[in-house]
């Protein structure tokens, strides 16, 4: 009852606050934020992130040679690196008191041959400042120290597993703490190419599994001629779109080549978390797998599944993917439950035309648009911060605090499933199973509801064991007595009848 009243109250609150929030638009461009409910329907939500800044070439005093076709972003500490592919250079931008200053233009390497880049596609900078650049035009990944002196380069593997007839075109790179380099190369579908720190090639990891079904196989084997088969696409694994290495050294990869049908049954797996042997260990505890948008408007221009071009992982294991199809950003918690989705296609701030890359600095998001040559900076709103705070508190073990924070979230958004689950989980830790069950039921969380129910049932049975035994005994004994009585009655009647007959 209290809970229902609270829900109603918070709903009223949201309705009351909404027009005010629109009226007092304090210079922020508000994106249309939403989430999906249990039935897969869109529920509007307060903004979790808002645009706080947009970095253009002009912001960086680059009017003479503005950015051209930038392809990738990277963040290390307070520095932001933009791969300005069209100008064969990498821009190093430092964040200083909410301002962005161009500190360095990396366009040549001392002591390398050739010393310039040719359409670089990705950059990685480790904590010491060592820079790795994917340089497909020169078929190499080049490594330099923090003063841009050449250290070594990673080139085409001289190995029989690598098809020597194709050229080595590194597209995306990731480097782990011990200096191992993982390269996602164009035209290579065996997975990520892995180099040791000394530059030796040690194989591939995480090959995208070949996806075909039995019917495809039967059809191709028995019902097509050799000529037809040659014309059809063969069963080959697809390449990944992008990779990101999280702080624990797991590689997150995104994949944009799949059929819509595979998405529904979680065969496509557009976001993956690869372990050292290359299998996908992403946790998916929601009804819907993390695939971006669940539905899209028929016959619209931006029709089709989300194409997740890039992914970035926050320090609390929340991962955020960037969709090219509709310029949207999707946040997922470590359990695979969608936190929020926002963004649009368009030219205004907070909308994107050519989404290519996403990065984070703390909780701020940096989104690169290759068509507009701009970097949009998003900062979390109070609502967004509350969500992060609540999940951090839970991970830390402060369950009561986390429940309180989730309650605040619920006041801002009464449709937020994760808040119900969060409160339920905290209540369960506090052994308030009945209340936890109510919250889990509200969120349609069957697994957790079942867990809470088992504890609740155990307590219930222990408390009422006397009654239960009594009822069971009654159910067993009463029919026995009744039957016995019936038998005796019949015997008596039989005896009486016999007596009458003898007379």
């Amino acid at each position: 009852m209290i809970f229902q009243r609270m829900l109603l109250l918070s709903l009223c609150l949201v309705i009351a606050v909404m027009p005010i929030a629109v009226a007092s638009d304090d210079g922020f461009a508000s994106s249309y934020t939403y989430n999906y409910d249990y039935w897969g329907e869109i529920r509007e939500s307060p903004d979790a992130y808002r645009v706080s800044d947009v970095i253009y070439s002009a912001t960086l005093n680059l009017e003479e040679t503005p950015m051209r076709n930038p392809q990738s972003l990277f963040v290390q500490g307070q520095n932001l690196y933009v791969v300005d592919t069209g100008n064969n250079r990498i821009l190093e931008i430092a964040k200083q008191d909410d301002a962005y200053l161009l500190t360095r233009i990396i366009d040549r390497v001392e002591g390398a041959e050739p010393s310039t880049f040719s359409s670089p596609s990705d950059v990685f900078v480790d904590e010491e400042g060592t820079v790795y650049v994917a340089d497909p035009g020169n078929t190499r990944v080049i490594k330099m120290d923090k003063d841009l002196n050449y250290l070594q380069s990673f080139v085409k593997p001289q190995d029989s597993t690598f098809d020597q007839s194709i050229s080595f075109l590194p597209n995306k790179i990731a480097v782990d703490v011990s200096g191992r380099v993982f390269v996602l190369a164009t035209n290579v579908n065996k997975g990520l190419i892995k180099y040791e720190a000394d530059g030796t090639f040690t194989g591939y990891i995480g090959a995208n599994q070949v996806s075909y079904n039995l019917w495809d196989y039967v059809w191709k084997t028995f019902f097509t001629t050799k000529e037809q088969r040659a014309q059809q696409a063969s069963f080959v694994p697809t390449e990944y779109e992008n990779i990101y290495m999280d702080k624990e050294g797991f590689i997150y990869a995104t994949n944009t080549v799949f059929s819509e049908y595979d998405l529904l049954y979680d065969v496509a797996k557009p976001i993956r978390r690869l372990n050292s042997v290359g299998s996908d260990i992403l946790i998916k505890n929601d009804r819907y797998p993390p695939i971006g948008d669940l539905s899209w408007v028929e016959s619209s221009l931006d029709y089709g599944p989300s194409k997740l071009k890039d992914v970035t992982v926050l320090d609390n294991d929340i991962y955020i993917a960037f969709d090219r199809t509709r310029g949207r950003i999707f946040g997922y918690d470590p359990q695979g439950i969608m936190l929020w989705a926002f963004g649009n296609k368009g030219n205004s701030a907070g909308s994107f035309m050519g989404a290519v890359s996403i990065e984070h600095m703390g909780q701020d998001l940096y989104c690169l648009d290759e068509n507009q040559c701009s970097i949009t900076v998003f900062t979390p709103t109070d609502y967004g911060k509350l969500i992060y705070q609540a999940s951090d508190e839970y991970l830390r073990g402060a369950y009561e605090q986390s429940a309180d924070t989730w309650r605040q979230v619920l006041k801002l958004n009464a449709n937020y499933n994760l808040a119900f689950i969060g409160i339920g989980r905290a209540l369960m830790r506090q052994e308030q199973y009945k209340e936890a069950m109510d919250y889990f039921k509200m969120a349609h969380d069957r697994r957790n509801y079942g867990r809470a129910y088992r504890y609740y049932r155990k307590i219930l049975v222990e408390e009422n064991i006397g009654w239960i035994v009594a009822v069971v005994i009654l159910l067993l004994v009463v029919p026995l007595i009744l039957r016995k009585r019936h038998q005796m009655k019949e015997e008596v009647e039989e005896y009486e009848r016999l007596k009458v007959g003898r007379k």
């Binding site: 039935w39 039921k441 349609h444 069957r446 697994r447 509801y449 079942g450 867990r451 129910y453 088992r454 049932r457």
Partner: protein
């Protein structure tokens, strides 16, 4: 005179009710002894149409109650979209179509059953679903998600049992062998599709014909004015 007549009708009513009760109780015999049960159901007149109707209604009630009252851990029916009549219709229409289609086909291939017999056998075969699913609704509130296998096993038993009974029922009603019954089951499904097609064609032609007369009428009115 009138007193005796009413007494007579009273007695016959009581007799009819007794028969109804015995045919109802016969359902429990049928589901455990399907081969004898279905034979006697039709050929020894141990079943009645009213009992069959009762079983069908009970089945529909169970069908809807299951969706509405089962614990959400086991069934995720979008209650806000569920329409009871639609749910009932989505079972009743195929069920009756299959009865008609089976009768239409089996009469051509010396099946012994009349439409009434087929309908009765099919309705009696639905009884295990009611007997298992109704307690399952209660059970669903007593077990947790981890113990879902108990629920799913019992639920599948109820469906498989029903399908088996339908198979045996049709076999006994028509006095067919198992192979022939199997062939006729597939033929029945095909026949139901044909019936569906004919119904669609009929209604589309009907609407065309009506459209013709409507436009004719409009034309005449237009000319007269």
């Amino acid at each position: 005179m009138s007193v005796s007549k009413s007494a007579e009708s009273n007695a016959s009513r009581r007799e009819r009710f007794a028969r109804y009760r015995s045919t109802l109780r016969y359902g429990t015999y049928v589901i455990f002894h399907p081969f004898d049960g279905f034979w006697d159901l039709i050929h020894e007149h141990r079943g009645s149409l009213s009992a069959a109707n009762t079983f069908l209604v009970l089945f529909l009630i169970t069908y809807v109650l299951r969706l509405m009252l089962t614990n959400f851990q086991f069934i995720t029916a979008p209650l806000q979209y569920i329409n009871i009549y639609e749910q009932c219709g989505s079972f009743l229409f195929p069920f009756l179509t299959l009865c008609v289609s089976n009768w239409a086909l089996s009469t051509l291939f010396d099946g012994k059953g009349r439409l009434k017999d087929i309908y009765m056998a099919m309705c009696y075969a639905l009884l295990p679903y009611v007997l298992i699913q109704l307690p399952l609704i209660l059970l669903s509130h007593l077990i947790s998600f981890d113990e879902a296998s108990y629920y799913t096993v019992l639920a599948s038993v109820s469906v498989i049992w029903c399908l088996f009974l339908i198979f045996v029922g049709l076999m006994e009603v028509h006095d067919y062998g198992p192979g022939k019954t199997l062939i006729f089951l597939f033929a029945t499904i095909f026949g139901a599709l044909v019936i569906l097609f004919l119904i669609l064609v009929f209604f589309s032609l009907l609407s065309d014909a009506l459209g013709f007369f409507v436009s004719l009428y409009r034309e005449i009115v237009f000319r007269l004015n």
